[in-house]
Amino acid sequence: MSVQAAVAPRTAQKSAQVVLEARRIHKVFGGLVAVNNLSFTVYEGEILAIIGPNGAGKTTVFNLLTGVLPLDGGEIIFRGHRLNGLPPHAIARLGMARTFQNVHLFDNMTVLENVMVGRHPRSRYGFLEAALRVPWARREEQEIREHSTACLELVGMADLADELAGNLPFGQQRLVELARALATEPACLLLDEPASGLSHQEVAALDALIRRLRDEQGITILLIEHDMHLVMGIADRVVVINYGEKIAEGTPEEVQADERVIAAYLGEDL
Amino acid sequence: MMKEPAGQGAGGLRPPHELEERRERGFMSLESQLLQYLFAGLTLGSIYALIALGFVTIYNVTGIVNFAQGDFAMLGALITVTLYQRTGLFNRVITVDLQLPLPLAIVVAVILTTLIGVVLYVLAIRPARGASVISLIIITIGLSIALRGLGLIIWWTDPYPLPVFTPGPPIEIAGAVLTRQNVWVIGTMLAIVIGLYLFFEHTLLGKALRACAVNRDAARLMGIKADQMALFSFALGAAVSAIAGIVITPSTFMAYDSGTLLSLKGFVAAIMGGLTNAPLAVVGGLLLGLVEAFGAGLLSSAYKDAFAFLTMFVLLLVWASGLFGRRLVEA
């Protein structure tokens, strides 16, 4: 089965269709406002980068979007669904997947098994069917295995399928986590600092991979990144956050020239 | 299935005999009864507070919950008994007849128990640093069970008494009775609490321990050896528990299995302080003692242990879904 056929490509073109919208989302930790009435829109098929100084609240935004943290205010609309109060697994089933800044692989399982867990929201059989080894469950298991293998091939990690995930070097773990997120068949993929800790070569490969995902699979990509070369090269639009607030939004060039952005980054390397 | 010698349930402290005697003697006015429960509760609570302090000390410095905390109390008490009076050990195979004076016996017992705590740290805890949470939990449970087993082998199932520290008539207050031993217990608790406070606030070693608790890496950069601190925290925890066990034994005898319930209840008290806040743990211990005394007196003495755990459940569940939410619950 070819990679293309296995991962069911969708038409890939930037449209004006809104896939994800954050409306005045708000999050407070104790006395600290981590995300302050933040609003932004993500269009289908685009690559949106979220940047900002350290501690600006970017990962908190991801945690709010994926349901890991409950909202203290505002709403999130994803593909027409209101995400407020939904648990993470429901949001995953709706088509939002993510990777983590500090890779959260299941190190008690092999690489392939990790990706197969990603297939969970697209499969159904449960305890009873598993216990009795019902035929349709076995067919589903076969599909899970094939699809997961295809995802691994897409990121170039297929020959390490039977390695224990915890034994891999960091860059490869990153890729496995990406394959795992892809296995959920996401409409929207959230990448949390995917380039951090990677070598130049690996970042270039990542750049190409992200483009492929958008171009061939039609996946919308939301990217938290500090690596400005990657951001400038790959992002269609950029949202800049500082102290939990949006301070700028636009194309990479517009944002780069924005005074408030420069001020926020003063003292940081751009 | 493993069978412990019959007659032992979950162990724990037997009810203070003053309370039972008093009840038997007949009529007691309601106010007196309530006051009596208050005294009993404060006494029990002092013990729970001390065990809780041991938990907090060790947890703060090492991040480990030492399930064997209550068993140190058992060891301290039973070793004191063995040193002080003629005792038949190993099911009467060996008889120890040292008959040391009580104060000396107590001091030696506390030292020995502290040493045991240190040895356990070196043999079982230190090699396992960095293991998973489940592994560490199972290890300290294993230690607790091993100590309990050791206690059973050495001292069999009998509950052992100690004499009251200062014999004499109890203090009568408004129809209720405060025995001298009760005063010793509460007084010891206060002394230790104050002593620990002074130690942590005003001595270099105490501050070093606190530094480890707050930020182990920074402490290490300052030249504080985390391992030494961990060892010392175990020693301190064992010592405090031993003293607690010794001081309560004259009122409620100590047996090989008393440690388990003490551990559990001390833990309940400690979680009232989030396992990290010592003053709250002390308050928690006292509150728990009061809940138990009033529950046993007013509702049902058979279920007195259950009250402690019901309290624990309510606390844990309220906090798990409440304000302290995540922080408290992710161990």
């Binding site: - | 349930g9 091993a146 087993g149 559990l264």
Partner: protein
């Protein structure tokens, strides 16, 4: 099952070796079943057969606890509660209310499962130490209730007068019959558990253990799975408890004791926290160790009997968790694998490899 001979590429005979490699679990299962079926031919002593029956009970319990603790990573120090529930409910229904045995077994399983579910909803909000203590506290509460409510449970003296198990018109009286019934049920539980573990469900459980956060974001319904695995393990325990009640015809509070819960943890630890096969090994070895201690101790130390068990189990727990946290079999297997790996990685030194091995 391939009918093509791998070497020649031509259709050939069914290759046993290949089949075994591709169906390891099934092969091992069948081998185990066969061995258990004929074991009584060698083990003819009733006392020894009763030990095998107890190993069966303990295996049922350990498999369930392994699913809960090993695979899903939820520590439970109160598993004996479900065992005791199964035993007492079955005992009550048959001894007091004259139910037939199998409906009683099913009713006990359903009720115990329900109890597990109800307990699980609040208790799984907790993690780590708090969860461990909460389960221990639950165990002690149950023990206290059972000992106190003598009207229902017979208190410390226990529930007496439980009839023998019967299958249809046949009443089971011999050790041998209980041996077969117990192990039949144990094998069924083994089969179910193996199937679950090697499936999407098993992966989900292990994912929860490794990282609840990541598991949830990958679509695993974390809370629902925890509850389901708890309920399943409780049902296993209840079934074991029911059979136990019929076997001994009496149930006492010791079947609830938290010491028994800890003993089960020892079995899981020895067998390997996340290994279904390890569960059998753990149950068997710990049960046998207990029996050995009980028989040997009185000969070594005058008047002693069961006490050494406690100490021994405590020490075993500590030692295993420090040196072989994946269990005895896995620990040894790991060492063997490491040796083989080291040998493989030094191909140029094959002549010296035997001596050069660390």
């Amino acid at each position: 099952m391939s009918t093509v001979n791998r070497k020649t590429g031509l259709p050939g005979r069914f290759q046993l070796a290949d089949w075994i490699t591709h169906h390891q679990n099934l092969a091992a299962f069948l081998a185990l079943a066969a061995m258990l079926a004929i074991l009584p031919l060698w083990v003819t002593n009733n006392y020894q057969r009763s030990i095998l029956v107890f190993i069966g009970f303990n295996t049922m319990l350990t498999v369930g606890l392994s699913l809960l603790m090993g695979y899903t990573g939820q520590i439970s120090l109160g598993h004996a509660v479900f065992f005791g529930c199964g035993a007492y409910i079955t005992g009550l229904l048959t001894a007091r209310y004259n139910w037939s045995p199998w409906p009683a077994i099913v009713a006990a399983a359903v009720l115990t499962g329900l109890l597990a579910y109800l307990v699980g909803v609040p208790i799984f909000k907790l993690r780590g130490h708090y969860l461990a203590m909460a389960t221990l506290g639950l165990n002690i509460i149950f023990e206290t209730v059972v000992v106190t409510e003598t009207g229902w449970t017979g208190g410390s003296n226990g529930l007496l007068g439980i009839p023998r198990l019967s299958i249809g018109p046949w009443v089971l009286k011999s050790e041998l019959s209980y041996y077969y019934v117990t192990w039949a049920m144990t094998l069924a539980i083994l089969a179910v558990s193996l199937n679950i573990v090697n499936s999407r469900v098993g992966r989900a459980l292990r994912a929860i253990h490794a990282s609840e956060l990541a598991a949830g974001t990958m679509g695993v319904e974390v809370d629902a799975f925890k509850l389901k695995v708890l309920t399943l393990s409780a049902v296993y325990a209840s079934l074991a408890g029911s059979l136990f009640a019929f076997y001994l015809q009496i149930v006492t509070p010791s079947s609830f004791s938290f010491i028994f819960s800890i003993e089960l943890v020892v079995m899981v630890a020895v067998g390997g926290l996340s290994s279904i096969w390890g569960a059998i090994f753990g149950a068997a070895s710990v049960t046998l160790l207990g029996e050995a201690l009980r028989n040997i101790m009185p000969r070594l130390v005058r008047g002693a009997s069961a006490e050494a068990e406690l100490l021994a189990f405590g020490l075993i727990l500590v030692i295993i968790m420090i040196f072989m946290p994946d269990g005895l079999t896995a620990g040894v297997a790991k060492r063997l694998r490491a040796r083989r790996q080291a040998r493989r990685e030094a191909p140029g030194r094959t002549e010296q490899s035997a001596d050069a091995m660390p």
